[in-house]
């Protein structure tokens, strides 16, 4: 990725496994598409947004250290989810919005792939007139 260091990209993949568990089932091509979509989205944003995103990943990674003695990627899954739920509902707005932005990026990387449409049952049709009534 151009937008993130390899270390941060690896951490992003750990987060993705909790946000969208199906990302663990992506093959190498799918994972490549996942990172490519996110990277392009970050590249299209101002540099300040890229810096904020990278900083937020850092905050997220080390936020659990005080309580659990380990960075987030070293925790077991249940504790990772607990930390992420705390951020989603955080009383500090900037952390809430940061978490929303993170989720949006991961959702974009996964659900934004046309190849995953079938997995959720989304089957658009340019001419759907014959399909209007179930």
């Amino acid at each position: 990725m151009k937008s993130l260091s390899s270390e941060k990209a690896e951490f992003l993949q750990v987060l993705a496994s909790r946000i969208v568990p199906e990302t663990t089932e992506l093959d190498a091509v799918g994972l490549g598409r996942f990172f490519c979509i996110i990277d392009q989205a970050l590249q299209d944003r101002p540099a300040s947004v890229r810096r904020q995103f990278a900083t937020f990943l850092g905050v997220l990674r080390w936020a659990s250290f005080a309580r659990y003695g380990n960075p987030l990627d070293k925790l077991r899954a249940e504790r990772q989810d607990a930390v992420l739920r705390w951020f989603e509902d955080c009383p500090v707005r900037i952390l809430r919005t940061g978490f929303w932005g993170l989720k949006a990026m991961i959702f974009m990387g996964y659900y934004g792939q046309p190849e995953t449409n079938e997995l959720v049952g989304y089957a658009p049709d340019l001419d759907a007139r014959a399909n209007l009534h179930a």
Binding site: P21, A41, D44, R93, W100, F107, Y111, G112, L126
Partner: protein, 511 residues
């Protein structure tokens, strides 16, 4: 005004026109068509459009791909506090390429509340009807309405909520439901299909991939680029100095019209420039039914409920979005979120919109680096409206037969039908948390509001910027307050009026 560069300082190509229109959406496209007859009299008119003109075959319906090509910031422009995202178009045809085409006339009581000198409901109504006809606005027949929409109607009727059918501007709709990614069937009657071709047929030049960076005294500086998709611009990539002997008309939308004027230094005598924007904040709820329904096949937005507009200040509308947009509008993550996404064919969706008051502190402005910033605070009354809208929508889902509902402010991820009588308790007001809940805007309004003088507005009732006789505005930034209905028809009616004013003043302006 800031001094604009002079020829010789930078290698710029020079172009000269009589009228320069910035933007080609609902406002710019209409103005271009209405002013086009002047070309027959030898006047030269250019439309400078930032976005690309996509070839018909490029409307692929692929969500992320089309969002990046047709929207500013791929449909996710942030407000300064990151609590909202704004979606507005960047294309030949502007936002008319990516809207759903629901066509409503602004109510008379709203026109009266706007209190713009010389702006009368009868005039706006007449002009609106002109565009109803021009854009083939009509209501779909029963056989063209899918289950997602029928269930909304069923739910509202069962609860006794007033529900109306949207007139829409389509011709030959094939029910792809891809309206918000650009209609792949050329059915949506945006300015790209109706007004711009007419304007070009009479001699108006539309220059795409052309971003105006500054406006000076009857001159614009612009940059033409090659984005790598769409038809090539009529001008070579590079920097341009575009003279407008008569008029410059800004129709770049709520972010870019005031933004351009702010960058160009017009704020010095226009204290209201950029101020009092309204965004019609919106969010989505989903209801899951037992069986698959037709939701992503068929026109997505056929009904609205305005039962709660007067007292609670919100609207409900049917909607259908794509997998990524749906995913980011749900709260939560992990297994439950995935479970709901995998029920995509069973999902009914409702869009709620809150009426926001125009307050001067909500504005488009420039930061210390000269970059555009959208300062917008979600007020407590708006959050109250969004909360109330979630209660009403959830009840509509259950009345329509949904087995469970996901409400962004719900105590639980799912509210089951068995708890349908506890909706008020299960969706507490305290859970309406900006930053956690995805709140968006596709109806951007204000920033160059019409009014009496510079103390309360930026333009007069004909879109002419106060004390700048050659400068006009012709888009939704003219709105002094929220239109309370989907705005595009009102934009067209106002742009029609602005163009008439320009035609009437051409002689004076030339002299």
């Amino acid at each position: 005004m800031r001094p604009i560069s002079t020829p010789g300082q930078i290698s710029m190509r020079e172009k000269e026109f009589d009228i320069v229109i910035i933007g080609s959406g609902a406002g710019g496209g209409v103005a271009a068509k209405e002013l086009a007859p002047l070309c027959v009299d030898g006047k030269r008119i250019a439309v400078l459009e930032w976005g690309a003109k996509l070839k018909d075959e490029e409307f692929s319906g692929r969500e992320v791909d089309m969002a990046s090509k047709l929207f500013f910031d791929s449909g996710g422009t942030f407000t300064a506090d990151r609590a909202m995202t704004l979606a507005y178009g960047r294309a030949y045809g502007g936002s008319t390429v990516i809207y759903t085409g629901t066509s409503l006339i602004m109510p008379e009581d709203v026109v009266e509340r706007w209190s713009v000198p010389g702006l009368e409901f009868t005039d706006l109504h007449r002009r609106s009807m002109k565009y109803f006809e021009e854009n083939n606005v009509h209501r779909l027949g029963d056989n063209e309405i899918n289950d997602n929409n029928r269930l909304f109607l069923k739910g509202c009727e069962k609860l006794g909520y007033r529900v109306e059918q949207f007139p829409i501007n389509v011709k030959g709709c094939k029910g792809s439901s891809l309206c918000n990614l650009g209609c792949p069937n050329k059915a949506k009657q945006g300015t790209d299909r109706v007004q711009l071709p007419k304007a070009e047929g009479l001699g108006v030049e539309v220059i795409t991939n052309c971003r105006v960076t500054t406006i000076g005294d009857r001159v614009c500086e612009a940059i033409v680029t090659d984005p790598g998709f769409g038809e090539p611009s009529k001008w070579e990539p590079g920097e341009y100095r575009v003279k407008a002997k008569v008029v410059v008309l800004c129709a770049g939308g709520v972010v870019n019209s005031p933004g351009l004027l702010l960058r160009s230094g017009f704020c010095d005598h226009l204290p209201m420039l950029g101020r009092s924007i309204t965004l019609h904040p919106a969010l989505i709820l989903v209801g899951e039914h037992e069986d698959s329904i037709t939701n992503f096949h068929g026109f997505p937005k056929s009904y609205y409920c305005d039962e709660f507009m007067k007292l609670d200040k919100f609207l409900l509308e049917t909607c259908m979005y794509f997998p990524f947009v749906t995913a980011k509008n749900l709260i939560g993550f992990g297994a439950q979120h995935s479970e709901l996404m995998r029920a995509f064919p069973k999902l009914q969706m409702i869009l709620v919109l809150a009426l926001d008051a125009a307050v001067p502190e909500n504005r488009v402005t420039l930061d210390a680096h000269g970059d555009l910033v959208i300062d917008y605070t979600l007020t407590e009354p708006v959050l109250d409206s969004l909360h109330a809208s979630m209660l009403a929508s959830t009840k509509v889902f259950f009345a329509a037969g949904a087995r469970r509902v996901h409400a962004p402010a719900g105590k639980r991820f799912f509210i089951d039908a068995a708890d349908a009588d506890r909706v008020d308790e299960l969706i507490p007001r305290a859970n309406v948390k900006p930053g956690k809940i995805s709140i968006t805007s596709a109806h951007l309004m204000g920033g160059c509001g019409m009014g009496r003088d510079t103390t309360d507005s930026v333009t007069d009732g004909w879109g002419r910027v106060h004390d700048v006789p050659w400068l006009y505005v012709g888009d939704s930034s003219l709105f002094p307050q929220c239109s309370e209905v989907n705005p595009y028809v009102t934009v067209m009616a106002l742009a029609d009026r602005v163009a008439e004013g320009i035609r009437n003043n051409v002689g004076e302006l030339l002299s």
